[in-house]
Amino acid sequence: MSRGEGYVAFDDVWKKFQYGEVHNRLRDAIPALARRLVGRRDPDDGLWRGEFWALRGLDFTIEPGEALGLIGPNGAGKSTVLKLLTRIMEPTRGSCVVRGRIGALIEVASGFHPDLTGRENVYLQGTIMGMPRREISKRFDEIVAFAGVEAFMDTPVKRYSSGMQARLGFAIAAHLDPDVLVIDEVLAVGDASFQQRAFARVQELVRGAIPVVVVSHQLEAITTLCTRAMLLDRGRVVSAGTPNECITAYLGGEASRPVAATGDGAVQIESLLLSSSTVRSGDRLVVTLECRVRENGWTEPETLRIAARSTSDGEVVFETSSDQLGTTVPVSGAFTIRFELQMNVQRGIYLIECHAWDRMMGRVSFTGPAANVDVRDGIPFSGIAQLNARAVVSPAANVAGESTPPAQ
């Protein structure tokens, strides 16, 4: 099948699973069967005891050239969607149509046999993934070079490091010519330089005119790769739209923090507003908190704190408080407080969090709402902090006479 013919359509897809152990012995299965015959389905949801819906009426299509990102907490149903897409499982109800050859960047070394050599495994894994032998032979050198394991092709894979195995597996999968591409958390394979190469290769594949599905907890990967996104929670679509909209819903919404704004402190944070949801790296971001002090509150002022948390690794990259900035929070009534931040950070998505801090008790007295900001563009750099570096080149003549040896 040639390029551009791939197509994905989920039509009202439901998938049911069982909790706990499935019956692997006849001795367990016969009583279970008897219970089913005597027992009764819950009339409302068509479930037997111990069953649950992993997907509840999923409906979407992906056209060639579109890349759909799936996000959501653990147990949302993302992996189930992938298993249905790759035809490993069948829906309990509804239809999943996937047209064309599926290239799956999922558990890329699953077909490797430890006793076989690298060469033998490339053919085995390639064929398992649906590549004709002819094509594997043709692209063999390319695959091996990409993985960087040329010297070990006649060594059994069991003597490879886990990184080498993963790299070889990824290289094979990345050289499929799929009509539909499915990517699941494989962007964390190998060392930093391989990850960069892998990501570039994935971007190349995604730009081809094929439908793509990406599942990742690295939310920046979703914003960079995907044209749209869907937020799943407990088998349902909670939000759908641009990747940014879904990520905001995910990070700020119920999905990630079931208690959005809670606490028994005197200072209540009612809202958190950002001057912009997208800023350039190095630009200024204004965070406004609307607060109210509860009546019969307090005598000792509390502190308001804000933090910027990277969504790629969950680390707090910056945190400050009204105290540290030399302001005092009023002791009564409603007020707003503005924090100005200069976003000297790596590009990526950051969650801006806020809370009130009770100094007397040394505890968080109120957890406020959160919002995310997408930091993009700016001067490229690596590391965590942007130090506004400059580089100046001067001709060697200017430093002649100093102790450095003359350049010639």
């Binding site: 068509g46 993934m129 739209g241």
Partner: protein, 314 residues
């Protein structure tokens, strides 16, 4: 870094407005699922389409079977040879009771049947474990699951072919065997492969859901030889014994191979022993064919129906 953002909101509205009511029993009957067709023709088409994978899986199994072993492919001859030796000892014990010796033709019969029996036992054992042993594949990658038990049986077939080749070399050297039986052998080998595949597919499938299957297969492979005429020929039993043993689908296949190749009997003719036991009747061939081909059809259909659940249970 920006890709063109094109947002489709049609599903968005649907998702918001859909009544989140799970399906009722009535609607389940109208499932339009992408379940692969379970017809025999579809299965054959799938296997033909994935023939390269079948080849790779078989090659893999053959490679790992003999990698890191000193004897290597000699094991393929040694295993049936041990069965022959065991049979020879039993025959020798019985022969010495009645004061005669074991004739070379009896050893030849043993050799032919041992190869057939080892193929069945090996294929069944290997095939039964094929789905559970490959669970990383079954839970991660799609391909027709039939390939796993079939490649297991094929691997065993290649293995047994080495033993069969040894027979083809050794027999003429000792003036044993009848070339006229060879066409029958081809037919019987076909039936044996079909029957072994059928049983392996069913037991592999059962083993996914109930690990009891493994124990049942172990019983069959250890003790089945006492219920199959391998060490003895059918005429060693009386008429009633021969009738009972003939119910075993492997009996006509192994006996037929012995009669055609070692005795030189024309399988179109019946053969009745001195004791009146029916050692061979043309209907035996029909009986074995029904088991082999009927079994294959039934097992393919059952396997395909069940294969959608493998990933959840394996």
């Amino acid at each position: 870094m920006h890709l063109a953002r094109q947002v489709h909101l049609s599903y968005y509205d649907k998702a918001q407005n859909a009544p989140h009511r799970p399906p009722t029993g009535r609607r389940v009957s109208r499932v339009e699922s992408r379940r692969p067709g379970s017809s025999l023709a579809q299965v054959v088409r799938d296997i033909v389409q994935y023939r390269e994978l079948l080849y790779e899986l078989t090659l893999r199994d053959l490679r790992i079977r003999y990698k890191q072993s000193v004897m290597g492919v000699l094991w393929a001859i040694l295993t049936p040879l041990v069965v022959v030796l065991a049979g020879a000892i039993i025959r020798w014990a019985f022969a010495s009771l009645v004061g005669r010796t074991v004739a070379p033709i009896e050893l030849a019969a043993l050799a032919v049947k041992s190869i057939g029996w080892s193929f069945f036992v090996g294929g069944l054992g290997f095939g039964t474990a094929s789905l559970t042993a490959n669970f990383p594949l079954v839970t991660k990658v799609y391909f027709p699951r039939e390939l796993l038990p079939i490649s297991a049986v094929l691997t065993q077939a290649v293995d047994s072919a080495v033993g069969a080749a040894a027979i083809l070399i050794v027999f003429p050297l000792y003036g044993l065997g009848h070339a006229s039986g060879l066409p029958w052998i081809f037919l019987l080998v076909g039936l044996l492969v079909a029957f072994t595949t059928a049983v392996s597919m069913l037991s592999a499938c059962a083993n996914v859901f109930f690990r009891d299957a493994k124990h049942i297969v172990q019983l069959v492979t250890s003790f089945g030889i006492f219920f199959t005429p391998v060490f003895f020929d059918l005429d060693a039993f009386g008429p009633a014994g021969a009738r009972t043993f003939s119910l075993n689908p492997l009996t006509p296949i192994l006996e037929g191979a012995r009669l055609a190749l070692v005795t030189g009997h024309d399988l179109r003719e019946p053969l009745i022993s001195a004791s009146g036991a029916v050692v061979w009747a043309p209907s035996h061939l029909l009986y074995a064919s029904v088991w082999a081909l009927g079994g294959l059809i039934v097992s393919v259909i059952i396997f395909r129906r069940a294969s959608g659940k493998f990933a959840e249970y394996v």
